[in-house]
Symmetry: C2
Subunit: 242 residues, 2 copies
Amino acid sequence: MLNQNNMLNQLKVVCSLCSLRELCLPIGFGPEELQQLDTLAGSKRLVKRGEYLFRTGSDFTSIYAIRGGFFKTSVLHDDGREHVTGFHMMGDIMGLDAISNEYHVCDAVALETSEICEIPFEKLSELSMIMPVLHQNLHRIMSREIAFDHEIMLMLGKMRAEERLAAFLLNLSQRFSARGYSAASFQLRMTREEIGSYLGLKLETVSRIFSKFQEEGLIAVQKKLIELKDANALKRLLGGLA
Amino acid sequence: MLNQNNMLNQLKVVCSLCSLRELCLPIGFGPEELQQLDTLAGSKRLVKRGEYLFRTGSDFTSIYAIRGGFFKTSVLHDDGREHVTGFHMMGDIMGLDAISNEYHVCDAVALETSEICEIPFEKLSELSMIMPVLHQNLHRIMSREIAFDHEIMLMLGKMRAEERLAAFLLNLSQRFSARGYSAASFQLRMTREEIGSYLGLKLETVSRIFSKFQEEGLIAVQKKLIELKDANALKRLLGGLA
DNA sequence: GACACATTATGACTTAGATCAAATCGTTTC
DNA sequence: GAAACGATTTGATCTAAGTCATAATGTGTC
């Protein structure tokens, strides 16, 4: 069977190379340790703006951790309509929805040149058998994705357009903030059309509501640069909704 | 550490008592074997119509497999609005979205008197450490839920009301069929309002579209009894959409 | 079985967001 | 740097679905 030390070594490599904070940090590596390990060579790779990381129907062999950059995942339909299922940034993991099928069920496209780490799923599974915490964390990550998707379902099913945009901006803000970037000011990596597709709105509606928020002093918009001027007002807009 | 035989025994008990087809069958138990084991006593339990299996905020200790009956899961908001996140029947597993939080993030209510099996998550985790296939299957189930949620997001974000109802009816039909019940005729366990909440529509809209489908000969509706008269037409209604 | 309450159906009207259209602004290409 | 294309903004209309109202029907309770 597996040699535990050998496996542990691989684990370190896999983890370190991916900045898989969610998978790795709870195991006991400190940020510095991780940084050191980070300098090792490995299966990280650049994906240029507009390039596909994977496509619907392609074989599922790996999940992907984003080291840096920005992705969208989407499903494309016969009639040409695209639905954006998510936006993903540093530390996020993509491809988990493919495990059950053995092929990918969405496209993943880089919205800016990005650095990703490919984690062969089979290897991860092996490792997680001897590293209970890794195993737990994988569950936790998948579970979190399910819970988050339920929030999006709520948004799509129950919120008005303004509420969706407010929730979207606050979510982005919170995620940038959690990664050490400014919570109040950030660059949108996606077009108005992609935002609309994600939120179940048309691009014109997105544009109009950005303008409206700006008029009301809630945000400042300069093309792709968004500044949250009154995050509390945005939160109030959400009212009782999560 | 763990005694493997002891664990294996527990596995058999857990599996058998739950009819956890998805978790257990691939391991190599045949249906008959499962049936036999099924007769053992264990942590199965009845949940009466209207009773909660778990509530938002309650401690997460177990996931639940449905042996028989029908549930809805929903999130309730400060302002009293409810959003139904799913309908669940025999063989489905509920509570997976709670793993990451250690408390439940939705309510689960029985829509008819149902029999469920409680699976302590800790025990399942232990077992899955020594039963790789169990472990894999858990991943697969969670992954499938993520992929399915993405389909719902597409539905809520991109489909018109009629398309949503058609997709809803076809999905129910397919699931009943997969469990050995009629694909063409089934009893709705939920109200029009709950259907509407799930699909992001108002109950009046649901009612109107049922009437319209009936006029057009696509379905026959008698209160809660639905008969699909022309499933192909319903599929055509979905057009290019999944 | 009668009362109270929940669910469903249907009509009349309103509205949020879609659609269509046009102008502006930005960015990439050669 | 001019041409060509894509993204964004804004306006004018349209429409699918929501809201409000009422009646009918169904269901549970004592």
